[in-house]
Amino acid sequence: MGARNCTCRLYTTLAAIGAACRAAELLDSVPDPVLSDLDQKEAVAGLQGYQHPALSANPDPVEAELEAKELSKYLLAKSFFDCKEFDRCASVFLPDSLLSGLLSTKATDATTPKGKAKASSAPPFEQALPSLSQKSLFLALYAKVISGEKKKNEESEMIMGPQDLGTIKNSHLVVVSRFLERWFAERKAEDSDLPPSQGFLEYLYGMVMVKEKNEDAALDYLLNSVHLFPWNWGAWLELTNLISGVEQLNKITPVLPQNIMSFIFYANTAVNLYQQGQDLAASVNDLLKLFPTSSFILTCRALLNYHSKDLYTAEQNFSNLLALHPHRLDSLDHYSNILYVLNMRPKLAFLAHLCSSIDKFRPESCVVIGNYYSLLSLHEKAVQYFRRALTLDRSCLSAWTLMGHEYVELKNTHAAIESYRRAVDVNRRDYRAWYGLGQTYEVLEMNAYALYYYKKAAGLRPWDGKMWQAVGSCLQKMGKDRDGIKALKRALLADSYYDSTLSSFGSAGPADRMAQMDPEVLLQIAFMYDRLGEVEEARAYMELCVAQEDGGATDNVDTSAVCTSNPGESFVVHGDSPGSDGDAEGGYEGRGGAGQGEGTGVTVATSKARMWLARYAMRTEDYVTANRLATELCQDGVEVEEAKALIREVRSRMELADLTER
């Protein structure tokens, strides 16, 4: 009941904010209170004097009095806000003259006549802040910020046009932050006669500071706000955006108030940080028990599956979500990514159709459509739709990244780099953008840059083999074979990491999945060892690589329990391989139809390994082995000519050996 109460309250106070939507959503997904055993008594008791929490007065008497006084003005301002007349709304409580007075510095001799008039009436710094209820103050300042954002959007140029440098700032931030600075200073200095803050202004101040890139202070204020009023999901969201890594998240967790909101926050943030694991899955499942139909939590679960590369489950989750909330567009862009990777064209087309018939001017819809066109290899059209998505919402992360991918397809590396860069600027945690940047630079053969970005990506997803493989091959190209070997080994290890986590979702990947390693990686490692002159190591890896053909990686060489998830999914994660890395794809094609438990079958990589082994056997005068390997090569029909030449040579050598023996 408490949760319900407070969520209601939150709803009324923050109706202005988009987060209210989420609150109402949650409220709706709480099972009916009358039926739940826990609340039954309370409910019966409460029903007598039940006043809907949305209408109840502010618990703080001073604030309540102020609010009562300002009610008519507040209603006026609120309706202005609802009519999207933000400046007008702000000026109901905080006229522009007041704000400009606040803005002017200590110097009394302001240059403008307006400032002078002000200065004569009252010294600007001493000018008292208007005594307003926090609710009204919040509304006014918030309106000011929003109006600034609006102006900023209006002033910004065409997406990625010549003028679009991303340098336009929200000009109202300064006023608001100065106002709030003073407001909080007053609270701190004068001991008590002012009523205590209720958390919203902290939230606002935190938000403004985030926009001003003052992140540490912002974190403090937001934490404060969350403590004062934990039901403000907006504040939680800002916190989520501030946290840059798992370490920070873990550091912050003990400081948070211990309630359901922080629980939700933790789950959401972890998902956003691409975390995965048993614990997280369990906590999401716990939340689902509380809010069984909450679309938000369901999305979290689907995303969790997605991040742990369990695409089929994620697809199913999203599909169910779609069935439950057919009109909900949020995070359908992720769904479209999944469908893209799974190459489910009809379904993606249907999804795009659905989105465009619900609202074709939502960034999500545009991203879905863009993904569909990308799947059809209509890259220009895809770019057009991603652009549209960005015009609608500049902070649409996935659109920036996906646009980068499309530009790579269109061989426009310059534009690709720029859009990846934008994506990274919007959100520094987007590993796909980092990876894309790396890949683009790799295409341009600027390996040092590429390495830097690959390392970033790998840092974000340390358990993703793909990242390490990229790092490894980059190092290899730069001639740092030792480091390369390390990175690639890590890639092999990382691939095995997923397996342990997948089981948490019961229905996840098939249990009898055979342990496999990527022959490509093995080959690379082997080649590097070969270059370093450590022939024995090289041979071992080559043999391991060949062994992948029949899936029998049981005789693991050095990595313990090297096993990997379903290869079909793990390496083709959408966004991970946008480039036309033909060699890698060539490696997978051969085993597509081979069945999952059967091993890779003959691939380019294994053939290369076999060839190397055959030559090695030649060098070590192990002619029998060489002959066997070469014959196998002939049978596989790969590099037949070379193999035949090899066989001839082996035969002649063997004959020669026979002769000499005699």
Partner: protein
């Protein structure tokens, strides 16, 4: 509304694919291909192939293309009769077609469908080379050349699909699902596995996953379409609408017909909920309102059309707007405004140096001036256009310079007409005619054949060779009418009806007017008015001949009300002359005289057509005759005769000669009268006007009687002198007597002929008169029995005319113009 692609076009593409895959059996190839081409190409193959295109199937094309857009039924009608070429027995071509359509089972499949379309095209050399390089198999089988009609259609469709925005392609997909839905029951019969949601394979497949939520998702994606909500938006594209509009406007302008009501209703259904209303549709509305005689709407629509088009084009179109306005105004009888507007048009066109417009305007203005001399009178003196002749010469030269053949030939025709009207040399008129005809035939300008032949007929009419003119009219109606403007057709029919009425074949004339014309075409206001008017005229003439003056006056009252402003001056003159005749028959000579005098003065001032003026003179002479003072008309008649002779207006010449003979009769110069009439009679019979011939015969009879009377006097003189002269004189007297008898017989014969002609013309009064004369003659001859008989017939006729039997019979279908 889509720009180009519609479900119907997807159907056409599928049909092309079927054809290319060689699933179309041999006997279906021609129907399928002609179906395809008739929908892909603009030109109307059907009507050019059939030898006798009629006005009724003129609109068929519009109907067909609307039908195709609206429902899939057309495909079914085409394909159901044929078996499929390659499949199990019992499968029809229609099944194969449906297989194709239902194979497009999702939005993605639609995308695939379009992306595989280029396979039906022949590859370019470049592509072939690349294919051989890649070692691919070269395409074989039927391939469409890239520039063939079908190939161009396929390419255009694919291009348009590529251009579509995503939500437009989603719209197309939805429209397609809806278009295909009527075939679901048939399809299900053949494919039992086809379920409720089989229109979208994604829904179908996800059904087990989504369970009961599937419907919700389907409704979200497809909107109200699935719940049988009749939103009525037809899957029509701008391209279809525009081609339909162009077609309709073309029809209206070319044939002057209105759009049939049913097609109009269908078209409006298509246009109803399209977001973009092409501005051309305002023009269509304007044309339609114009034709239907709805002046305010026409005005409104014209202004609207030009307001909407002004933004796309330049202000250059200002004078075209004015020109249209002027034409509308004159059509609705606001001649003064029309003139002002047209003058402004001319000056604007001059400013803008738009020769085409200028020439057209001048041509129009010339005709306008001919039709309304009173209005342009003030201008003629001080304007650049000058008098008619110079203007025409100017126009002709201009047209030759700028190569505007239509204008040139119409200027030539006008010159020919002017020549005839001024009574100048027939050879000159003929020359112009031949030159214009040469241009028309050489350039195959079918639209001008009408006016060419109409001038030709009027030339033959003036020359009094009515069978030639009738023949020309018939030729036009049989051969050229379907491709000519309806106005021309109507005029020809009316002219033929007039000739028939002149012969006294009133019923045939009415039949011609009733049956010879397509009722739908008569929905246009102007032709309708004209048609009613002509019916009225024929009826009026018959009533006058029947001496049914009351009915005639009722009709006249109506006809005279129409006002000269709105009508052809020729028709106005006919009405006037019939009015005068009615007045004369009423014996209201004063009024008749006054009217004639007024008309003569007016026509002289206006330099009107010579034939009309001669006609007036003759009417005046006739008036004097009726008043019993024929000799007072002598000079008038002489003038009429000489004018008619000079202008070779032969029909009028015969009438004038007849009038002259009548005067001679009155003056007792019977022999001269006989000579004149006998010379003229055979030629007059050629002109096939029964009444005039009858009058000539009756004059001849009068003259013979006069001669007989003279002979009798001479005999008397002879007998008085013969008593002295004796036997020789007696012999001479008997000779004279014989001669008298002979003359009587001749007079009787002439009277009989006259009677026959009058009865052919159904003119009661003249019939009575002749009968009375014949009775008298018989009495003189002493044949009392026959005299009695004639007298009895006379009485019967008299009764008939006074009882007004005819009026009661005919008043039921009196046309009100």
């Amino acid at each position: 509304m889509a720009r180009y692609l519609t479900p119907a076009k997807i159907g056409l593409l599928a049909l092309i694919e079927l054809y290319v895959e060689e699933t179309v059996p041999n006997d279906a190839i021609i129907p399928v291909l002609s179906f395809l081409t008739s929908h892909i190409l603009d030109s109307d193959l059907q009507s050019t192939m059939t030898t006798t295109p009629s006005a009724a199937n003129r609109w068929q094309r519009a109907e067909r293309s609307i039908g195709l857009v609206v429902s899939i039924k057309d495909f079914e009608d085409l394909l159901l009769p044929f078996p499929a070429a390659d499949r199990l027995p019992g499968r029809r071509l229609w099944d194969r077609f449906l297989e194709k359509l239902w194979g497009i089972d999702s939005l993605d499949a639609l995308q695939t469908f379009f992306s595989r379309q280029p396979r039906v095209l022949a590859r370019t050399r470049e592509e072939l080379r690349r294919m051989t390089e890649l070692g691919e198999e070269l395409p074989s089988g039927i391939l469409l050349a890239r520039n063939s009609p079908l190939g161009a259609f396929v390419r255009k469709a694919v291009l348009e699909f590529t251009r579509l925005q995503f939500h437009h392609s989603a719209e197309l997909w939805k429209a397609f699902v809806k278009y295909r839905q009527p075939t679901v029951s048939y399809w299900r019969r053949r494919n039992p596995q086809c379920g409720r949601l089989s229109f979208d394979s994604v829904l179908m497949e996800s059904q087990h996953e989504w369970g009961s939520f599937t419907d919700g998702i389907a409704v979200t994606a497809y909107g109200g379409m699935l719940m049988d909500e009749e939103d009525g938006a037809l899957p029509v594209s701008t391209d279809d609408i525009e081609s339909l509009l162009e077609f309709q406007i073309d029809q209206i302008q070319k044939y002057g017909a209105r759009v049939p009501a049913e097609i109009k209703a269908k078209f409006h259904a298509m246009l109803r909920d399209s977001h973009v209303v092409p501005s051309l549709s305002h023009y269509l509305n304007f044309s339609d309102a114009w034709r239907s005689g709805d002046y305010p709407s026409a005005f409104d629509y014209l202004h609207r059309y030009f307001d909407y088009t002004m933004q796309n084009r330049d202000r250059l179109f200002y004078h075209y707007a004015l020109m249209n306005l002027a034409i509308v105004q004159s059509d609705f009888g606001c001649h003064k405004e029309a003139m002002a507007t047209m003058l402004e048009t001319i000056s604007t066109a001059r400013e803008n140096k738009d020769n085409t417009c200028l020439n057209f305007c001048l041509n129009w203005f010339y005709h306008f001036g001919r039709a309304h001399p009173d209005l342009v009178q003030d201008l003629e003196a001080n304007s650049m256009i000058g008098s008619g002749k110079e203007a025409l010469a100017f126009l002709r030269a201009k047209a030759k310079e700028t190569g505007m053949l239509v204008l040139r030939s119409s200027a030539l025709l006008s010159e020919a007409k002017l020549n005839m009207a001024n009574g100048e040399s027939i050879a000159g008129a003929m020359e112009h005619l031949v030159r214009s005809s040469h241009i028309i035939v050489e350039r195959n300008m079918k639209s001008l054949i009408g006016s060419q032949l109409s001038v030709t007929t009027s030339l033959w009419d003036r020359l009094g060779i009515s069978y030639l003119s009738t023949m020309t009219s018939e030729v036009f109606l049989r051969v050229h009418a379907p491709s000519a403007c309806f106005d021309d057709e109507l005029k020809m029919v009316c002219r033929l009806a007039g000739t028939l009425a002149g012969k006294g074949k009133y019923d045939e004339a009415f039949a011609k007017l009733e049956d010879g014309i397509d009722k739908n075409l008569l929905r246009a206001a102007k032709p309708n008015q004209y048609w009613h008017l002509y019916r009225g005229l024929v009826k009026l003439r018959r009533d006058l001949h029947h001496n049914d003056l009351d009915t005639a006056e009722t009709l006249l009252a109506q006809l005279l009300q129409i006002g000269s402003e709105e009508l052809d001056p020729d028709v106005v003159f006919i009405i006037d002359s019939l009015h005068i005749e009615a007045l004369i028959r009423r014996k209201d000579f004063d009024a008749a005289y006054e009217k004639i005098e007024r008309l003569i003065a007016k026509f002289r001032d206006d330099h009107r057509d010579l034939s009309l003026r001669i006609r007036l003179l003759l009417v005046k002479a006739h008036l004097f005759d009726c008043m019993g003072r024929p000799e007072r008309g002598f000079s008038i008649t002489m003038r009429a005769a000489s004018l008619a002779w000079r202008a070779r207006l032969l029909t009028l010449l015969w009438q004038a000669v007849g009038a002259l003979a009548n005067i001679l009769n009155a003056m007792g110069e019977f022999t001269a009268a006989v000579q004149l009439v006998e010379a003229v009679l055979p030629r007059s019979m050629e002109s096939e006007n029964a009444f005039n011939t009858g009058i000539l015969y009756s004059i001849l009879a009068d003259a013979r009687m006069g001669q007989a009377g003279k002979a009798a006097k001479a005999r008397q003189a002879m007998t008085t002198t013969g008593e002295t002269a004796g036997a020789a004189a007696a012999a001479a007297a008997s000779l004279m007597n014989n001669k008298k008898l002979d003359l009587f017989t001749k007079a009787h014969e002439a009277l009989e002929c006259a009677f026959n002609h009058f009865s052919a013309a159904e003119d009661l009064e003249k019939q009575c008169e002749t009968l009375a004369k014949r009775a008298t003659l018989m009495k003189v001859l002493g044949d009392h029995a026959r005299a009695e008989e004639y007298a009895a017939r006379y009485m019967a006729l008299k009764r008939q005319s006074s009882s007004g039997e005819h009026s009661s019979v005919w008043s039921t279908d009196t046309g009100t113009p």
